[in-house]
């Protein structure tokens, strides 16, 4: 399907797969898929598929927050996931994605970092979230964010007595009762749309990626791409984000994830 044709569709409020501009592709997910991870989830939006895995380790806290655990988010665009991904260290897009997910989680106050302190100034839990793309058909940020949240929500903490006993899980990860969702709204020729396929995202000049909590608090915003936004567009996008985030939360609440 040519870009020209896809653009024509967008101009008429349509998508290549029959969706409307503000409609998600089919969303599916599965948690607990990685036995060696303390938490894990695979999330699919249409053909886009991302695994997030949570691993826990114990280490020294940062000197400016001696009684808080540590969060480290890392994203790898695996070369299996797209013909143009290459092996090697994360590129600027993977780094930006990881940092957006990191800021969204941190900004949402989801993790109770003080409960991750084992001994003040000496030993705290380190929460690693590793995001691994399986297939890239667009909208990686939103899919990765949701996979990360689901992985965190299903993370079980191993026993710790001087060293980690990974066989024995003793508790859930200390999370507050929030459900942040990230919604990226893309723009092509002044047309706003969400959850683009890879081809559609290549048409977009700009994107506003917003992380929003159940109580509609904004946890992070990131403008991406070479285009610009009018103030009206920004307002429209914030409103859209609120609606679409609720839609995902409803979708998930019908599943076993609380």
């Amino acid at each position: 399907m040519s870009s020209e044709y896809l653009l024509k569709l967008l101009r008429n409020g349509k998508r290549e797969d029959g969706r409307g501009l503000n409609e998600f592709r089919k969303i599916s997910f599965k948690t607990g898929i990685i036995k060696k991870a303390e938490g894990s989830a695979v999330v699919n939006f249409g053909n886009t598929s991302v695994i997030a895995g949570v691993k826990l380790d114990v280490g020294e806290p940062f000197s400016d927050s001696p009684n808080e655990g540590i969060l480290i988010v890392n994203a790898e665009f695996s070369p299996i996931a797209a013909p143009f991904f290459e092996p090697g260290p994360p590129d600027e897009n993977a780094i930006e994605l990881a940092r957006i997910v990191d800021r969204g989680i941190r900004g949402s106050n989801l993790i109770d970092f003080e409960k991750l302190c084992i001994k003040e100034g000496e030993k705290v839990w380190i929460v690693y979230i590793d995001i691994h793309t399986i297939n890239n058909d667009g909208n990686l940020i939103d899919v990765s964010f949701l996979a990360s949240i689901l992985a965190l929500k299903t993370t079980l903490m191993p026993k710790y007595e001087g060293k980690i006993i990974r066989e024995e899980k003793v508790d859930k990860l200390p999370l507050r009762n929030y459900f942040p969702i990230n919604i990226s709204t893309y723009k092509a020729e002044n047309i706003l749309f969400i959850d683009p396929s890879l081809k559609e995202s290549n048409l977009a000049e700009a994107c506003l990626s917003i992380c929003i909590r159940d109580d509609d608090k904004i946890n992070s915003v990131q403008k991406i791409g070479s285009g610009s936004f009018s103030f009206e567009e920004i307002e429209k996008i914030f409103n859209l984000t609120k609606t679409k985030a609720r839609e995902i939360r409803n979708l998930l609440s019908s599943s076993y994830i609380s």
Partner: protein, 240 residues
């Protein structure tokens, strides 16, 4: 970057450096600070100083990388002596992201299509870092691009805002950035009324963001006027 350790950032209704909430620090602008560059500028917000140099348009090699419009390359870099703890030299994850964010804030303003097969390099060195380094960088880069004679739709103006001790403020300094609750980086083509950067970190309500954007627009107007008069002054001297 922890947003949790509360310290008093507002005392007696004033910020620690004596500023009012929506007061921007002293701003200094200077162009042509790097003789070798095609265009260059220094922008200082209080103790935050950014130097930007533009090289290009220059032929992009190897050939198979050439595109139909100019390729914009931005590099944001902190000097090792710019921070409290010496910053280990090198491009870390933060500066890779900021380079991308700065590029995305500048790109909408540049007529890249005028220069096929070339690249335009925007290099930025932070020589002093006391908060809001990315917006100082954008302001400096915008001036440097203009000095290099790169055709632009408009100058790009940038400023930060944030929430500290629950209060909304403009232009965060380093302490406010580290110990405040939330921050927002903002850039726009002022006369075009288009936003080219919007980035937040920490918890905001949408209403708070709305208020800050309104105040940022006002601040940007002043910065925009400064940019224009800086360029004008330089060219007037140049003509004389």
């Amino acid at each position: 970057m922890s947003k949790s350790n509360k310290i008093d950032l507002i005392v007696g209704g004033k910020r620690l450096d004596g500023r009012d909430f929506f007061e921007v620090r002293e701003i200094e602008m200077k162009v042509n600070v790097v003789n070798n560059a095609d265009g260059s500028a220094m922008v200082r917000f209080g103790n935050t100083t950014a130097i930007a140099a533009v090289y290009g348009p220059r032929l992009l090699l190897p050939k198979f990388l050439q595109e139909e419009k100019a390729v914009l390359r931005c590099r944001y870099n902190m000097t090792p002596f710019s921070t409290d703890e010496r910053k280990t030299p090198g491009h870390d994850r933060r500066s890779i992201e900021l380079s991308k964010v700065i590029k995305s804030a500048l790109e909408p303003a540049i007529f890249l299509e005028d220069f096929p097969k070339t690249r335009i390099d925007v290099f930025i060195d932070i020589v002093q870092a006391d908060g809001s380094t990315r917006v100082a960088s954008i302001n400096a880069a915008s001036l440097a691009l203009a000095m290099a004679g790169i055709p632009m739709r408009d100058l790009v103006v940038a400023c930060t805002a944030g929430k500290i001790n629950g209060c909304l403020v403009l232009d965060l300094n380093g302490k406010e950035d580290n110990f405040g609750e939330a921050d927002l980086s903002f850039a726009m083509m002022y006369s075009k009324n288009r936003v080219t950067l919007l980035q937040t970190d920490g918890e905001f309500s949408y209403e708070e963001i709305e208020i800050l954007i309104k105040e940022l627009k006002k601040a940007c107007e002043k910065i925009y006027e400064m940019q224009k008069s800086t360029l004008k002054d330089y060219y007037q001297k140049y003509v004389e």
